[in-house]
Amino acid sequence: MSEDMSEKVLMKGNEAIAEAAIMAGCRHYFGYPITPQTELTAYMAKRLPKMEGGVFLQAESEIAAINMVIGVSSAGKRVMTSSSSPGISLKGEGLSYLAGCDLPAFVVNVQRGGPGLGGIQPSQSDYFQATRGTHGDYHTIVLAPDSVQEMVSLTVKGFELADKYRMTSMLLADGTLGQMMEPVSLDVGEIKTFDKPWATTGTKMQRPNNIINSLSLIPEELEQWNMTRFERYKVVEENEVMYEEYMMDDAEICLVSFGITARVSKNAINEARAQGIKAGMIRPITLWPFPKKALCEAADKVKAFISVEMSMGQLIEDVELATRCKKPVLLCNRCGGVIPSPQNVMDKIVEANNLGGEKA
């Protein structure tokens, strides 16, 4: 970019992720085009081949792309892939192998409606897939931006967290965020890097071989690997939870929402406040680790929660778990590519406010 870094530019979410990844030191991109994230792939195709050490490769499939990510990550370089929902399913095997090998990687899912080939309009119905993952005991750090600016900051954060904890971090966006343009500052500050003594960079006869492997046929050994890995996950849960509180100080109705629906929810909360209903929101920014403590504490103060999501009730399960079902949790949802309107959310806020017949 030729612009002054502090000056704001208008960028599409997909392109902003790509630029932020480059700023975070990513020089290797492997992917396969799919709507609505193709601008990200196209941006990398334009930029990376012109950069020193830059590699862009449009793989023959999503499965090939994620395996190329495993290769580059093993060599200790920052690497990413991106796709949209059905393409992420294809990468599922590789995501589990990354976890089994304790390799860092950055993966972007710009979600569209499903299941199956589904549609191409925005959705959040990969929440379970992102936060629960594929086979085996493992976790993925899941970051959920709600603006183009946050797509930049969380991309940088995603690379840093991945390296720090030797995990995959996934940026979970949706078609709206990917396609929209907003003013964005590309001033991301200092980028953190981490030593990777485990990387397979050649021993130069100076050290024993590094072996990267997810296979163990000895149950006790595999169990120990998992135990060790989960010790690390515990540190992530203790230190890396991120969320935003919006008008929660005196809130009686607590909305929980991430990504684009959190923005729709803000409109509805402002409208509710104008009508004298004390609504607020806890917006998880990390979906894993989930802001359990903040929600559990809110449950002692508010009279109801509303999970606002573009899926058939996925986020709501984490809200119910986190709040130990201390208060009712209502679902406000659309799916299949339909975005809830502020009015949809407002109606649900009114319903929540009327629970127990306290107010007419």
Binding site: K8, L10, T35, P36, I120, Q121, G175, T176, Q179, M180, M181, E182, P183, I260, R263, V264, S265, K266, N267, N270, I339, S341, P342, Q343
Partner: protein, 179 residues
């Protein structure tokens, strides 16, 4: 101006998305909050294209516009689809060389500009969109006309400086157009 919600709608290829981008940049250089959201997918290939632009003094919640304050329409299907959505007291800018009917709503201000014909007469064939934007700037007060050069500097690449001049001319035509 607290918040302006502008919807641009027409066929793919009419510069609907560019018009929106141009307006959004006007907001950006005036230090406003801005969002630009296009329709995407199969409807863009020869079908209707639209884009939503919000310019606001306040942080923008949802970038999705259900009820625009202003509608710029460049084909019949888009007028059919969106006429009823405009807020009462809102403004509709109609390319009257492409849309053969009048707006039925009585509670909105309507501006008929034969933009496609004007563009063709002036040798500005693909710039009917910018003629409409010129009129929108005049009637909306979203930005001062003096700012448009600076915005064109930002969004027209150095390679295509001649296009800048054509865009400016089209904007002025619209700005000065009186029915």
């Amino acid at each position: 101006m607290a918040t302006s919600k502008v919807l641009f709608a027409g066929f793919g290829g009419q510069g609907i998305l560019f018009s929106g981008k141009f307006l959004a940049y006007n907001g950006l250089i005036a230090d406003k909050n801005v969002s630009w959201l296009p329709s995407y997918g199969p409807e863009m290939r020869g079908g209707t294209a639209n884009c939503s632009v919000i310019i606001s003094d306040e942080p923008i919640g949802s970038p999705i516009i259900t009820n625009p304050d202003m509608l710029v329409v460049m084909n019949n299907p888009s007028l059919e689809k969106y006429e009823g959505e405009v807020v009462p007291g809102g403004k509709i800018f109609v390319d009257s060389s492409l849309i053969d009917r009048k707006v039925e709503r009585k509670d909105v201000e309507v501006y008929y500009i034969p933009a496609t014909k004007m563009a063709a007469d002036e040798g500005l064939d693909t710039l009917a969109n910018m003629i409409l934007v010129g009129k929108l700037i005049k009637e909306s007060g979203i930005t001062d006309f003096e700012n448009v050069s600076a915005v064109l500097d930002k969004i027209v690449s150095a390679k295509h400086q001649d296009l800048k001049e054509f865009n400016h001319k089209a904007l002025r035509l619209g700005y000065e157009y009186a029915e």
